[in-house]
């Protein structure tokens, strides 16, 4: 009951995200997000246009390396709702993860669950999103909340590379009570999606998505 309360609160506190976190039906998607304090690698498969299953590995650590945690999970991604408009698209996504976690500030291996949600709105020139996810194990609760906003330098067509400037504010409870702000350059070209930038402390960040 307490976990659900924390989860529900975290959803309303936050809000941030990525582009579509799953591909089209029968496609595979691989994603990565790498920075000093957060590293995530995911592979998922779209069973239907709205459901994907996969595996993910999330490593979190504090800036001074004093605490670290590794979660390995089976994941489920669900497109809860999509609004298709003539010039825009909006989505609500649900994420769920079940697996195990290990860390240097607790002993042994613990079972973990990680529910999350994402809401996003996108046109060919503008992007905004919000994301909240909570990582829960016995006696351990970490949440990651973020919000993104950005614009494309120009409207590109399907077979052209499109550059975006995206700014993300992200707070990871395990790392800090402060929001980490990271401006990033996003490049989209067909099945490739890459973001690179550095937070305001100069720590580099790289993320990618690839569908096949």
């Amino acid at each position: 009951m307490k976990l659900w309360l924390v989860f529900t609160v975290s959803l309303f506190v936050s809000l941030t995200a990525k582009a579509a976190p799953m591909g089209f039906k029968d496609s595979w998607m691989t994603m990565g997000d790498f920075s000093k304090t957060f590293r995530e690698q995911t592979v998922n498969y779209a069973l239907t246009p709205r459901d994907a299953i996969g595996i993910t590995s999330v490593y979190m650590q504090t800036n001074n390396y004093s605490q670290s945690q590794l979660n390995n999970e089976l994941t489920y991604t669900r497109l809860v709702k999509r609004w298709n408009m003539p010039e825009a698209q909006a989505n609500i996504w649900f994420f769920g993860g079940v697996g195990e976690t290990t860390g240097n500030y607790f002993s042994g291996t613990k079972a973990t669950v990680s529910p999350g949600v994402q809401a996003d709105y996108e046109t060919t020139r503008l992007y905004v999103s919000a994301n909240a996810r909570i990582y829960v194990a016995d006696g351990i609760t970490n949440n990651v909340v973020s919000a993104r906003a950005g614009f494309s330098f120009y409207e590109a067509n399907y077979d052209e590379t499109q550059p975006w400037l995206i700014v993300e504010a992200r707070r990871m409870s395990m790392v800090s009570t402060q929001y980490e702000v990271t401006p990033m350059l996003r490049l989209i070209h067909n099945r490739f999606f890459v973001e690179a930038g550095a937070n305001l402390h100069g720590q580099p960040r790289l993320s990618f998505m690839y569908v096949y």
Partner: protein
């Protein structure tokens, strides 16, 4: 009468209607190449498909059939829907994908 018949026959053979008939669909929600690629990938795999063109600016998907084959319009619309989008208008046009691509590019 004979001349009219020959002229009609010639017109029939030379008219665009005798050329390829592509399917042109206007699609809502198609704003990103990364997200829309499912449309191209899945429709390209259909047996009657010769070429697919996705135009994000015009929110248009054009499908050209292979010579002598007929597109399964219902199946194509289902693929677009399965890719996560809404088709709001469908037209049959007597042009190839290459011609429509040039035409759409010229409208920009």
């Amino acid at each position: 009468m004979k001349k009219i018949f020959i002229a009609t026959l010639l017109a029939a053979f030379l008219s665009p209607a005798f050329a390829v008939t592509s399917m042109k669909a206007t699609v809502n929600g198609m704003v990103c190449a990364f997200c829309a690629q499912g449309i191209e990938k899945r429709i390209s795999k259909m047996p009657a498909t010769k070429a697919v063109y996705v135009d994000l600016k015009k929110k248009t998907v054009v499908v050209e059939p292979k010579e002598g084959m007929v597109l399964d319009q219902k199946a194509i619309l289902e693929e677009v829907k399965d890719a996560g989008y809404d088709v709001v208008k469908v037209e049959s046009v007597s042009k190839s994908v290459a011609e429509l691509k040039a035409e759409l590019a010229g409208d920009k």
